[in-house]
Amino acid sequence: MSLYVRIPFALAALASAAAIAPAHAQQAPIKIGIVSFLTGPAASPFGIPGRNGAEIVLEAFNAGKAPAPFDKVGFGGTKLEAKYVDEAGSVQNVVTEFRNLVQRDQVDAVVGYISSGSCLAVAPVADELKALTVFYDCGTPRIFEEKARSYVFRVSPHATMDGVGAARYLVAKKKNLTSFSGINQNYAWGQDSWRDFAGAMKVLAPKATADKVLFPKLFAGEYGAEISTLLTSKSQAVHTSFWNGDLESFTYQQSARGLDKRMTIIMTTGEAGMWRMRDKLPDGTIIGGRGANGPLARDTDINKWFHQIYMDRYNTPPTYPAYQMAQSLLGLKLAYEKAKKGDAKPTTDEIAAAFKGIEFTGPAGHVKMALGNGHQGITETAYGTYKFNKQKNMPEIVDIMRFPAECVNPPAGIDADKWIADGMKGAKC
């Protein structure tokens, strides 16, 4: 695909000059860079489902088999070509690979990134290079709060919704809650998740107090001391934003010691791991999936379609990263087609302009690019209670509660942290 790297430094200049030659408007496929963890601890829970989601959705686009209004071949009749890149490595590597995608491989858009660190580092570069970029999984609200972005979009809602939704569900289900605890990984995601959740709890259940606040090291793997600490607590619930490897380790270790018999566990990313943990995941656990994804998604036609093609190919249900990837690609497709006038390929600026404030309904429900000056999507979210159905030998989420987008997301123009701290004013539930 990209032979240029193989050519020594001196020749590279010539090669790239050739690449810059005017693209053939019709024949040349639209190139999309897909960036996701293909190696490392985040590959299995997020990176691979995300990539899988991209693969089948892009295939469906090219075959023109996606349901209406996404049924045009490729993007507006032009076929798509994907290049998959690993997100693993330092931020330096991530930025370098992003530049390589844009400048060397001349992709038309980049869709990807799981780590919020990657997203924060890539966003300014994307704007500088005027490269259309859609983040699909990273959660930090800082991306559009710190600075207005021009070419960066995020269809998936940011992580504030997860903490607020979890708090709302917990308060609705546990009326007499007096104390809650938290166990979150000691890095930005864990710290932010806890801050949002604890902040929302302060607003929604001011009488309940946070008891044990634990931050084990990321990928610690061994949680004996943390579980003991929680066992000695009188909390009725414990919040965790652990994700896969750590989430599974914690689940196995706590179930051996019966923590779930003493308190309800709230797993904000539990959906991504439930198909593997199956009956090891205790019944009664409150499960979130970064939005109304997977079993939390509404039973719509487009959701059925997506679920089906994913099952057919990978023989396992799609988890939320796959949903987020699908939503992102659907959004990009709509924006592209909206910007396309006649046969000519729309410019990046035209696509970006069309993307702003776009609304559509995908497998994970209705998206509105409402925040960040039309660059950040919001959707409804849902939480539910886990139940392993022994008859069907299948995990289930029951007792699902849905929270409208405006109920769990800050209004446009207000920073998420501030919104929660100020009592979540203006929430429409």
């Binding site: 293909l38 090291k217 793997g221 066992l231 599974e248 380790s249 051996a256």
Partner: protein
């Protein structure tokens, strides 16, 4: 009181885990003076091997004890094979090079083996919780302890006792002690140093794999588990004194108890505990607790 008891038990369990992962590392360093980064790979391969074994026996409906033994055996077999291949096929070529260069050889090998895992087992994670579930739990006061954790402590104690007995009371063990003490003398006494090296490395590899195997039921066996273990084991070994088995034991206990105390009493410092203890010990005793500095001779 409850907290003190919890700190003690949690500390012991964590120390057992640390000792099991560190003993192979310190053994290899003691005898061969190699700081073996590949130890993380042995751990990972052991864990993946164990997960594969559990997958087999869970489907075959064997009794739990037999399954546990099968799991350990298979993992150690993986360690054995890897140890032989690496020592005979690669390390042999670089003996005599700078200590630090050999560290990098093992680092390179570690990078390669990380991807070999992907080639063999794919990128998905594996679960092997059956042995831990089968072990059950006991309740002491308000605290529930997993019997599997108690088993881990027992395994660590057995390993420590075995190492002590083997080094002190067997012929081979005393030979090994000689090599640790003085390589040239050992060679002069006609000890087959090459054989001792191979044997040590293979035993170290098997111990690393054992560490992964006994931890596998507690964790999600997934990519990257080896990386975390390397630095942890290094820290324990550096605290105790590189190459010292009793040092690894004491180092594991210190780190285990300190970490448990931090989690219970001051969770915000938990992240620093290990490195803090390591830096403090190294400042006070540059060669770790159980290794004395060699006086300079003229």
């Amino acid at each position: 009181m409850l907290t003190a008891f919890a700190i003690l038990t949690d500390g012991l369990v964590y120390a057992a885990y640390l000792f099991i992962v560190a003993i192979g590392l310190t053994l290899i360093f003691g005898v061969m003076k190699i700081l073996n980064v590949t130890h993380g790979s042995f751990y990972a391969f052991g864990a993946y091997g164990a997960a594969t074994a559990v997958g087999i026996y869970a489907n075959a409906d064997w009794p739990a004890a037999l399954g546990f033994l099968f799991m350990i055996t298979l993992a150690m077999l993986v360690g054995l094979i890897m140890g032989i291949i690496l020592e005979r096929g690669l390390l042999r070529l670089v003996y005599g090079k700078d200590e630090v260069v050999i560290v990098l050889v093992t680092y390179a090998t570690f990078l390669i083996l990380e991807d070999v895992i992907v080639l063999i087992w794919g990128a998905q994670s594996y679960a092997a919780y059956q042995p831990m579930v089968a072990a059950g739990s006991i309740e002491i006061g308000d605290l529930v302890l997993s019997n599997y954790d108690i088993l881990l402590v027992a395994i660590a104690v057995v390993l420590a006792a075995l190492a002590y007995w083997a080094l002190k009371y067997t012929r081979q063990g005393r030979l090994l002690t000689t090599v640790i003490f003085d390589r040239e003398t050992a060679a002069a006494f006609g000890i087959n140093v090459t054989l001792v090296y191979t044997a040590t490395f293979v035993i170290g590899a098997m111990l690393g794999a054992l560490g992964g195997a006994v931890m596998a039921p507690k964790i999600s066996v997934t990519l990257g588990i080896g990386v975390e273990v390397i630095v942890l084991a290094f820290a324990v070994v550096a605290i105790g004194g590189m190459g010292s088995i009793e040092g690894a034991l004491i180092g594991a206990l210190i780190v285990g108890i300190c970490r448990a105390a931090a989690v219970h009493l001051a969770p915000q410092i938990e992240l620093f505990v290990i490195y803090g203890v390591m830096a403090l010990v190294l400042v006070a005793r540059p060669y770790g607790l159980f290794v004395r500095a060699q006086p300079r001779k003229i």
